[in-house]
């Protein structure tokens, strides 16, 4: 195992270091940073936008670029959090608290550098963790039957509910609505056309790119247009980038703790960058000797969550690569990207396509190196970008989204669908219904139905099969426990507080 880890990583670097993959990795991380810096467009909309373009790339190149966008966005998000007090990315929400205070005290440089160093360290560690834990997990997953898969998906969806803001019942309802929307189109078992109402374009189902772009892209633009454009940028204050010796003494432990916590939370179904950064900030505030300084410009409050969100972003690839189960909305899109390329996501990817698997892991380390080398010198450019007013930004985003969606199948119907889902997404925002669980349900809908059917066929219609198989029972019990804990009033209050803090 240990020796094969090295040979596997060597194989991966062989793939990741080819000129074309290096180039697309660079494009991915730069784009990721760009959209991370810019508030109002996130990795979900960007990856959805770029999916059609990846048709023409080889699978590994496409995935390397898309992955780069996700972790690149974590770097970029911290820049606008520190300089403008606006989280460019939802996972940078907690970075605003202390990062912006540091910037106001004239210490924007060290804050930015701390975020970059923390992210890079976490990225390196997370790459190794993915390489170490993915193979044994995939091995276990190879033994999964339909009942295990079904129960695992239930757990993943429940976890998505845990992460949603606000009402639990509403989040569960959003998951179910997503599952239902995912069923539109031809039923693979019977060939019956469901919920298509004679629309020929719906035979293949609703495109998840159009759903993602509508709900996360169009709806977001409409919501942003309601707010007045008000930003305050600390452009002149970024001098003296490097943290002092004293700063280093203060940040190394928080970075270590943030990395460890982020890596763990990223692996959980439903986890990822967002949960990790919140968790790390809360933990650090509790145990740091400078805990009382938090919220007033404590450098530890930047170091820990920034390390954690990057670690979490990367380890959230573990469930995707080993089980084929997305743990968050971005991973759901990565599944879509794999399917577009004709790759069925799941444990067999590692054995059948080792180049793809290890190449992607190695590219994460390469991408992190690029980010830390490029980003600090490029901070001036990102600051300039932040001064671009939204009235210039949003028509540009809209044009790229429209082009991306249209090129899916050269059909105006896709653009119409995106618009309709944009309206629906806007209604969701107004009614405080979170869209991320819907997208997860949407992706998992057909898979869940398929596995449910198979499991029930094998068990001759006995639903207890899900509790008789130990692994499947474990997943279901974990899901039930999660839901019960969520319903407990004490914890509910804690969860609301945690979201309040952002």
């Amino acid at each position: 195992m240990d020796m094969s880890l090295f040979s596997n990583l060597a194989l991966g670097f062989g793939v990741a270091l080819t000129p074309i993959n290096l180039m697309y990795c660079l494009i991915g991380v730069l784009l990721g940073t760009l959209i991370g810096v810019l508030p109002g467009i996130g990795p979900v909309a960007t990856i959805a936008m770029l999916l059609p373009i990846t048709f023409s790339l080889s699978p590994i190149t496409a995935l390397i670029m898309l992955a780069g966008i996700y972790y690149g966005a974590q770097y970029g998000g911290s820049t606008s959090a520190i300089l403008v007090n606006l989280p460019g990315e939802s996972s940078s929400v907690v970075t605003c608290l202390d990062g912006y205070q540091m910037a106001r005290q004239g210490r924007a440089g060290p804050a930015l550098a701390t975020a970059a160093i923390g992210s890079f360290f976490a990225g390196c560690v997370a790459t190794v963790i993915v390489a170490m834990f993915a193979p044994p997990l995939a091995e276990v997953a190879l033994k999964f039957g339909p009942s295990e898969y079904f129960s695992l998906m239930v757990l993943g969806l429940v976890a998505a509910v845990v992460l949603a803001h606000g009402s639990v019942v509403k989040a569960v309802a959003m998951v179910i609505l997503g599952l239902l929307l995912g069923l539109v189109g031809t039923d693979v078992n019977s060939g019956v056309l469901r919920f298509a109402f004679g629309v020929a374009e719906l035979a293949d189902g609703i495109g998840f790119v159009t759903v993602a772009m509508g709900v996360f892209g169009t709806a977001e633009i409409i919501t942003n247009l309601e707010l007045k454009d008000k930003r305050e940028v600390f452009t002149s204050k970024v001098t003296n980038l490097f943290p002092s010796k004293d700063d280093f003494k203060r940040i190394w432990k928080p970075i270590l703790r943030g990395t460890a916590l982020g890596s763990m939370l990223g692996i959980l179904p439903g986890g990822g960058a967002l949960l990790s950064s919140f968790g790390a900030y809360t933990l650090e505030k509790k145990i740091s000797v400078n805990g009382h300084m938090f919220g007033k410009g404590a450098i530890e409050g930047v170091a820990a969550p920034e390390a954690a969100n990057n670690a979490g972003a990367q380890t959230s690839f573990i469930p995707l690569l080993t089980l084929g189960i997305p743990s968050n909305a971005v991973m759901a899109l990565m599944i879509g990207a794999m399917m577009i390329q004709g790759i069925a996501p799941g444990p067999q990817v590692m054995t059948e396509k080792p180049q793809l698997f290890w190449g992607m892991i190695a590219s994460m380390w390469v991408g992190n190196l690029m980010l830390v080398v490029l980003n600090l010198p490029m901070i001036g450019l990102w600051i300039k970008l932040l001064t671009v007013p939204y009235r210039i930004l949003y028509p540009s985003i809209l044009v790229f989204m429209a082009i991306g969606v249209f090129s899916l199948s050269n059909n105006p119907f896709d653009v119409l669908q995106m618009m309709l889902f944009g309206l629906l997404g806007y209604v969701f925002v107004k009614l405080a219904c979170e869209p991320a669980p819907l997208l997860l349900g949407f992706i998992l809908g057909p898979l869940m139905e398929e596995n449910l059917r198979r499991a029930m066929l094998l068990s001759r219609g006995d639903p207890w099969v899900f509790f008789q198989k130990p692994i499947s029972a474990g997943f279901l019990i974990a899901s039930i426990l999660l839901l019960v804990i969520l319903a407990l009033p004490a914890l509910r209050k804690k969860r609301e507080e945690a979201f309040q803090e952002g």
């Binding site: 373009i53 023409s56 009402s167 019942v169 509403k170 569960v172 309802a173 179910i176 609505l177 599952l179 239902l180 069923l183 039923d187 078992n189 019977s190 019956v192 469901r194 919920f195 169009t218 633009i221 409409i222 247009l225 309601e226 007045k228 454009d229 939204y390 009235r391 210039i392 949003y394 028509p395 540009s396 809209l398 044009v399 790229f400 429209a402 082009i403 249209f406 090129s407 050269n410 105006p412 119907f413 896709d414 653009v415 119409l416 995106m418 618009m419 944009g422 309206l423 806007y426 107004k430 009614l431 405080a432 219904c433 139905e449 449910l452 059917r453 029930m456 066929l457 001759r460 219609g461």
Partner: protein, 150 residues
């Protein structure tokens, strides 16, 4: 009874409508049995659950107080939607260049202020950039100009 949480009231209603919609339409598909599920089985079960959850949300809106539904702003909704539809359905008849211009101008009306010169410059830049990147670079099969000019 008085609605104490309008947001939950409308959300609950929305879930009920969606749930019943899927439930009723799924009646046209075969249910099958638990062993061999027909195309109607899964959607019927899910539609039912969704409607019940919607009812729960709706009922709690009468007992627990919550925030109001924020005002909808129809100006951005209208112009963003219109811009997208025009882009989609005009692309083939009038070509890529003009439909990008149409989208930029219509979308710009949805914002707080509309500066003709600024929007015009933005449209030109976006046209040049997207033609170079998407049509020339990525060779997407879009007609550049209206059909009658070709």
């Amino acid at each position: 009874m008085k609605i104490k949480s309008p947001q939950d009231f409308w959300a609950g209603l929305m879930f009920i409508v969606f749930g019943l919609f899927f439930l009723i339409v799924a009646r046209d598909y075969q249910m099958g049995t638990a062993v061999r599920m027909g195309p109607g089985y899964f959607p019927t079960v899910l539609g039912g659950i969704l409607a019940v959850l919607g009812a729960v949300v709706l009922l709690t809106s009468f007992t627990m107080s919550g925030p109001k539904v924020p005002k909808l702003s129809f100006k951005p909704i209208f112009f963003i939607s219109l811009g997208l539809i025009l882009f989609g359905y005009l692309l083939k008849p009038i070509g890529f260049v003009l439909s990008v211009v149409v989208l930029v101008f219509v979308a710009a009306f949805g914002g707080h202020e509309f500066k003709l010169k600024e929007v015009a410059i933005l449209a030109v830049i976006l046209v040049i950039f997207s033609v170079l990147v998407f049509v020339k670079g990525l060779t997407l099969p879009f007609p550049l100009w209206p059909a009658f000019l070709d």
